[in-house]
């Protein structure tokens, strides 16, 4: 079974530009989560999809971040415009149902110059 895949693995952009991260969950997993770790701090929850619906987006830092999961399959996380403090590692995870183990992707390392 293929795991959670994320790409790109690393993105370097300048402040003010736009970046889109993609996550493909494990096939059949309705639940998809985004997390991030910035500035060596703790890994923080961003949002949770159940199929194509946003179940909880309480962790989204501001309106420069937009997450979508059209069709309930893969998800994208767009940052527009990117700021320096957005640098960090963005993780995606999926689970079959709530309360089940979450399986994490390898993350996307985002560097804002």
């Amino acid at each position: 079974e293929a795991g959670v895949t994320q790409f790109p693995s690393h993105s370097v952009i300048e402040k003010g530009q736009t970046v889109t991260l993609r996550c493909d969950p494990i096939s059949g997993h309705d639940n998809l989560y985004w997390y991030r770790r910035v500035m060596g701090k703790e890994i923080k929850f961003l949002l949770h999809f159940v199929k194509e619906s946003k179940q909880d987006e309480s962790g989204m830092p501001n309106n420069r971040f937009l997450a979508e999961r059209t069709g309930g399959t893969y998800s994208t996380l767009k940052v527009q415009p990117a700021e320096l403090e957005d640098s960090g590692v963005y993780f995606c995870a999926s689970s079959q149902t709530w309360g089940q183990p979450q399986h994490f992707g390898d993350g996307t390392r985002l560097s804002i110059l």
Binding site: N31, Y33, Y35, E42, I43, K44, F45, H48, Q55, D56, G59, V89, F91, A93, S95, W98, G99, Q100, P101, Q102, H103, F104, D106, G107, R109
Partner: protein, 111 residues
């Protein structure tokens, strides 16, 4: 919200030594996972252990849910065990399913 505390924050061992990492949490949880973040930044799922004890090779974990803590044991440590170990907990409700991470324990195993 729920608090997750990990100890120690840093741990340096000689190869072959044993260690115990601890995770305390402030509320009842339905989900607890231990992860190893390797030097390449990948989060490797070690255990899904909301309660009880599990073992996988040189690693084992125990969660005492009633006392709100979990322990990760590493025996006969190897240099490849180096990295950051995270504990993450979740309340597990349908509308409150996000995982809360501790700050991690940074383990360095010296040859």
């Amino acid at each position: 919200g729920i608090q997750v505390e990990q100890s120690p924050p840093d741990l340096i061992l000689q190869e072959g030594a044993n260690s115990t990492l601890r995770c305390n949490f402030s509320d009842s949880v339905n989900n607890l996972q231990w992860f190893h973040q390797n030097p390449w930044g990948q989060l490797i799922n070690l255990f899904y252990i909301p309660s009880g004890t599990k073992q996988n090779g040189r690693l084992s974990a125990t969660t005492v849910a009633t006392e709100r803590y979990s322990l990760l044991y590493i025996s006969s440590s190897q240099t490849t065990d180096s990295g950051v170990y995270f504990c993450a907990v979740g309340l597990g409700g349908w509308n409150n399913n996000d995982m809360r991470f501790g700050a991690g324990t940074r383990l360095t195993v010296k040859p």
